[in-house]
Structure formats: C-alpha cells, structure tokens
Amino acid sequence: MSDILIKFILSAGTLFIMFNIAGLLTWVERKQSAVMQDRIGANRASILGFKAMGMFHALADVMKMLSKEEFIPEGANSFLFNLAPYLSVTFALVGFAAIPIGGELILNGHSIQLQAANLNIALIFIFAAMSMGVYGVVLAGFSSNNNYAFLGGMRGAAQMIAYEITMGAAIMGVIMVFNTLDLQALDVAQGAYMFGGWLPKWGVFVQPIAFFLFLTAATAETKRTPFDLPEGESEIIGYFVEYSGMKFGMFFLADLVETVLVAALMTTLFFGGWQVPYLHADGFYFPWGAHIAMTNLPVVILGVLSFFVKVAFFIWVLMAVRWTLPRFRYDQLMNLGWKILLPISLINIAVTAIVITLLG
C-alpha cells in the first residue's frame, strides 16, 4: 500500500513540477527573446496593479484560449481532429515518468528511488513516447481537411523520421559506454571519475560527439526554430492551422513540454542527471583529499537541485538557439539529417565499439 502511495506522490509531483516549468516557459520565452533583442518584453498584464514582471501574461493567454470558440472545419474528421492535441500533450508528458529527478532517498529505512517509474528499459520507453508524439502532428495535419495543415503534417513526419534515427544512433554510444538502459543506473554510473578523480565520468566527456548530435536531433524533435518546418509560421502556418482555442493551446504546450523533456534528457544522459561533482552518498570527497561528511537527506536535496539547475541551463540553451538561428530550408534540413548527422552518428558508434573492445 505504502509503495503505491509513494509512487503516486512521486508521479503527481513530477507531473506538477514539469507542467509548471512548461507553463513558466511561455514567460521565459517572451522575456529571454526580449532581453536578447534589447527589448523589455510582455509587461502589461496586471492583477490589481501588480505585474510580477509580466508573468500574468501566461494566465491571460490561458483565459483567452479557454474562452475562444472551438472550431471544427467542414469536412474534417472530427474524431481524429479532436484526438490529435491530446496525443501530442500526453506523449510529451509520459516521457517524464522514466526520468530520475534525484538519487536514492532513505526514509524510515525505506529506500525510495526518486523516479516516477523505475523501469529497466527507461530509455526505450522515453524514445517510444517521443516517437508517438509525432502522431499528434501527423493526425492534426491529415484530419484538418486543409492543404496547408496537410503539408505541415507531411513535413513533420519526414523530419521526425530523419532526426529520430540520428537521435537513437547518438545515444547508442552512451548506452555502450555505461552498459545500461536504466536511467537511474546510468546516473549512478556517471558518478565515477576519470583522470585520477578530477573529471566526473559524465556522458558529455566520454561521448562529446554524441552530445552534439543529440542536441541537434533533439532540437529538431521539439519542432522549434531552426527546425520549425512543420509549423512554418511564415508560409504554411503549419499542422495546427485549423485549430483554435485551447486545442491550439495544447499544441503550444506540447512544444514547451517537449523542450523541458529534451532538456531533462540531455541532463540525464550527458550531464550526470542528479550528480553533483565530487558528491558521494556520504558527502563530498574532493580529489585533493578533503572530505565533508553529510547525511542522506541533504545529499538527495543537493542532487535534486543540481538536476533542476542543469535542466534550467539546457532550457536556456535551447531558447537561445531558438531565438538566434533562422529556419533551415527544407533541402538543407534533409541534407543535414541524412547526409551529415546520420553518418557521423554511425561512425561514432563504430569508433566507440572499437575503443571499448581495445580497452577491454
């Protein structure tokens, strides 16, 4: 019984945190783009004269979207049309279940892994969820009975296939080095040290090329600039052209949730997840010999904090990329995916395999 309760609390907490981060991202996106472009950004929405640096714009948006008319175009398949946004959001959210947000918490002698679903195939689960997310895009495009939406859906499908393969191939290197598909075990394995204990054995240090490949492919996966061809706001408006009200809002939310998911994945796979450098289960062991003893609780709290700091950093990077680069042309996108990223990722796998075999 208490196991189920703990699982429930963990999943509810993860969902709550991730939803709130995604909601906050609408504000972050507005403000960060504004500051990068020497502007101030949204700052007008106020409650009783209290503006909170424009944070209420997210609330105002939600209220606007909820009160708008839900329009289903003539000739659309209304079942699939209504299903698509839910698919997008759901599959973006389930991925979080398998991401460890902290280490092992010991409470009254119970050992609790801070991970909503303790899967030993967590990585495959997340990739399955992310691939299913494209069904939302494709169904939205195909069921709208609109040529522009159809184009957006097709572009989305083509782009997902091209970049999903690269993404899978990129993390193969990481899986081979750490020899596990379980993300919690992967994070624990990243607590080892190289070069006489100075450099943490994080994924980015053992697989730097895989990191850049994954960063690129995952950005493409979130369908944001420079890979926003399915949306293509300036020419085809995209797969959600016929959606209005909160259903459009759900596609928008799915984009942001995917951004958080990608940031969390990059943290988990390449930056040690909840690992803090030199922090072990019973305190800090610095490579110059110093030792600070700590009990379990502060260690776990530090770990969770470090996870969210890293996630925040990657969200910042993704946003900076999104507001810096212009969109790729379609042929450039396909060339990049099939002719550059995919061969590099395959070479990366081969080289990793050879090195691992030679090192024994």
Partner: protein, 199 residues
C-alpha cells in the same frame, strides 16, 4: 562585358583575403552579397558550426549585458545605462524631431482671427484633395478674403506637407506635435476651422 570581368577580379581579391578557418569576414560577406555573386560554401560553412557559435555568442552577449543592467536597475544602480532600447510608448512617448510633420494647425493674427487669406493655394496643391475652403469677403479691404470655413480631412491627408510649403501667409503649419489622431468614425477625422485653430 569588360565591366563584369573587372568585378569578378575584384571579388576574387576579397575572397583571397580570408579570415580564420577560411571563413569570409562579415564585411566581405556584405560586399559579396551586394554583388550577388554566389559561390559554393566551404567545409566549415557547410557544417554550420562556426556561424552557429558566432550567432549564439552575439545574442548571448546582448542577453548577459542587458540582464546585468536590468538587475542593477532593480537595486537602483547605474540608471544612466539602459538595459533596453525601447520606449514604453503611451507612458513615455519618444522625443519628436522639431521638423517632424505632425497634425496641422491654422495660425492666428494678434486679434485671434486666422491668418489665412483663402488664396486656395493649399487646396490646389494638396495631392490628396483633403482641404476644402469656403472663402468670404473680409471687412478689412487690405485683407480682401478670409476662410468662412476651412475643412481638412485627416482621414485622407498623406502628411506630405505641401500645404505648409505653399502657403504665402504662413497660415497653416504642421507643428502641433500631435500624432495620436485616431478616432472612432471617419466623420470625426474631418477637422473644421474651429478645431484646427483651437485644438
């Protein structure tokens, strides 16, 4: 033909002087763009990486610079350096240049009557035909005419300023500094003599 050949040679000179990694410098790129002579991208440009990093460097520089000053402003420090170049428009209008053409006004004589002598010059020159003057005889024989009504339809005006240039009496000017002339109906965009003199 000869000219094109000369340009090509000039261009090649630019391309020979390359920056680090064999990249074009920005000034060279601008020149190359102006002359609309495309060439194949080299290896580094094809990877997008150098341009990606230089782009991120530029935007992040702005980001951290502005964030630093926004945070300092929160503590009331260094208010002399701005964190953003924008004006918060309705509360903080932009300073107007003194020669900017803004809403018209009819200038007055010392006794408060309009300087206009209803010569119809402005009505004739106006390209948008938005001025309509009804002339009447002035009691003073030195002045001859005055406008009984002076209608200016701002909904049609293109703000060319010809009416001001052409006026022999300096009777119409565009120096009120008023830019917000939005109204709820077309009729209220039509200004008569009274509004042009008093508002």
């Amino acid at each position: 033909m000869e000219n094109t050949e000369k340009r090509r040679q000039e261009l090649e000179k630019y391309f020979d002087a390359k920056g680090p990694f064999g990249l074009l410098r920005v000034s060279q790129m601008k020149r190359a763009w102006k002359q609309t002579n495309r060439r194949e991208l080299n290896f580094w440009e094809n990877t997008y990486l150098p341009m990606l990093f230089s782009g991120i460097y530029l935007t992040s520089k702005h980001f951290f610079y502005n964030v630093t000053f926004h945070i300092l402003h929160l503590f009331g420090l260094r208010k002399d350096i701005k964190g953003a170049v924008t004006y918060q428009y309705p509360e903080m209008p932009r300073p107007l240049a003194s020669r900017l053409r803004t809403r018209h006004r009819l200038t007055k004589r010392e006794d408060g009557s309009p300087r206009c002598v209803a010569c119809m010059m402005c009505e004739t020159v106006c390209p948008a035909r938005c001025i309509e003057i009804t002339a009447a005889e002035h009691p003073d024989p030195n002045i001859e005419k005055y406008p009984a009504e002076f209608i200016l339809d701002l909904g049609k005006c293109v703000y060319c300023g010809f009416c001001v240039e052409v006026c022999p009496e300096d009777a119409i000017r565009m120096d009120t500094g008023k830019l917000e002339i939005a109204e709820y109906s077309r009729e209220s965009m039509i200004y008569n003599k009274k509004r042009l003199m008093d508002e």
